[in-house]
Symmetry: C2
Subunit: 247 residues, 2 copies
């Protein structure tokens, strides 16, 4: 199916570059593209865009133009209630693909805000659909990405529906830890990019509860926290806390 075996080292380097520089390894690396396909993908994803801390990547209600792959940085997505409350739907980091929920209605249903200076790759959705039509493995991979998002959401539902505050926060920290590890950063030491309030919103808890539970974890020696800095001392203990509920 693929002409992968005919790739020269230069092609491979180019491919690797196209993927890693644009954080679409998520999207194209496992797809097994040939040279021509590569050129197409190259064209598609070579539209970088910086988003400064506090700026919106997109807002609820706007038309879906592109999906966005995070090249670097940190973004939260959130739905806004009419009464001003906001519910954080997810935190996204390097390599994550944003905007999937907009495909359904053709317009975004949540806001995406950068929590630190961020660079994304702009992936025009129409172009992606067209390309995926021509490159079956790309389509197949895209299906899996969508499905993975559904699985992730089910995990959050489980967390919100059946875990207590301590369990939720432990699960959250472990999840962050693991995602940093996957990206080559320390799994035990990192800076939170979000406020206690945002964590609380995501976990269905109030900011005071987040603060209290973090303090308790620290007292018990499981972690060290100071403001946004966080160090995990005893990941196993956290895992035991989460106990029977893995997402």
């Amino acid at each position: 199916m693929s002409a992968q075996s005919s790739l020269t080292p230069i092609d491979i380097a180019k491919l690797r570059n196209a993927c890693s520089t644009c954080s679409v390894r998520e999207l194209c690396l496992p797809a097994g593209l040939d040279l021509q396909e590569l050129a197409q993908v190259d064209k598609m994803v070579n539209r970088r865009r910086p988003v400064r801390r506090g700026d919106y990547l997109y807002r609820a209600g706007t038309e879906l133009q592109s999906l966005y792959a995070i090249r670097s940085g940190f973004i939260k997505s959130a739905v806004l209630h009419e009464d001003g409350r906001e519910q954080v739907a997810g935190f996204h980091m390097t390599g994550d693909l944003l905007g999937l929920d907009a495909i359904s209605a053709g317009r975004h249903l949540c806001d995406a805000v950068a929590l630190e200076d961020t660079e994304v790759c702009d992936i025009p959705f129409a172009l992606l659909e067209r390309l995926a039509r021509e490159i079956p493995s790309l389509q197949s991979h895209f299906n899996r990405i969508m499905s993975r998002e559904i699985v992730r959401d089910h995990g959050v539902m489980l967390l919100l529906g059946s875990m207590r505050a301590e369990e939720r926060l432990a699960a959250f920290l472990l999840n962050l830890s693991q995602r940093f590890a996957t990206r080559g950063y320390s799994s035990t030491e990192f800076n939170l990019r979000m406020t206690r309030e945002e964590i609380g919103s995501y976990l269905g808890l109030k900011l005071e509860t987040i603060s209290r539970v973090l303090s308790r974890f620290q007292q018990e020696g499981l972690i060290q926290v100071r403001n946004r800095y966080l160090k995990i001392n005893d990941a196993d203990a956290l895992r035991r806390l989460v106990g029977h509920c893995e997402s």
Copy 2:
């Protein structure tokens, strides 16, 4: 793109039949298929399968073979914790497509159990992917279905994360009501297919709470309940209760 204009009345009848009899109007109706495509879809979806009340459609851990479109009946999907607790992830009725979360890992991650005698259409996933490759509008539609599932999940997350018991139950009843209406049934009078415990699991509440809130709604004249029978007297009041949080 499509040869739709060349369809004879007979073809159209056949198409309508293929769709309505198998509850894949969800999947194929909006796709604008031509005759040959129709034949292919026909082949794909003409595998019906009955599932008796209490039986599993699939179990967590089993390999993904097919997606399932519900032709009639009622199915719950649930993830099982190691400790035996279960978390209901969704209730599904006629026309719904099940199994999307399995695409990610190639195996099912939750159980699907029939809450009443049910008939589903078996849609081999490999075949669906192949067909979608040949019929762009089918692929496009499938993307939207996946996205819609993500949107639905976000709605549940919002409900679990930021609504109180009364609001959750009101939202749940309105959602059921609306889905029955869409399918041509009464929006105000229907039988619940699930136990209080299952509702509670879905909404992140205990069965006693469900029972109590239902009783309270009844006292206030919003609904009438007797066992599984439910009648909505004042949908507007329920909507006001849910207030600012629409999913």
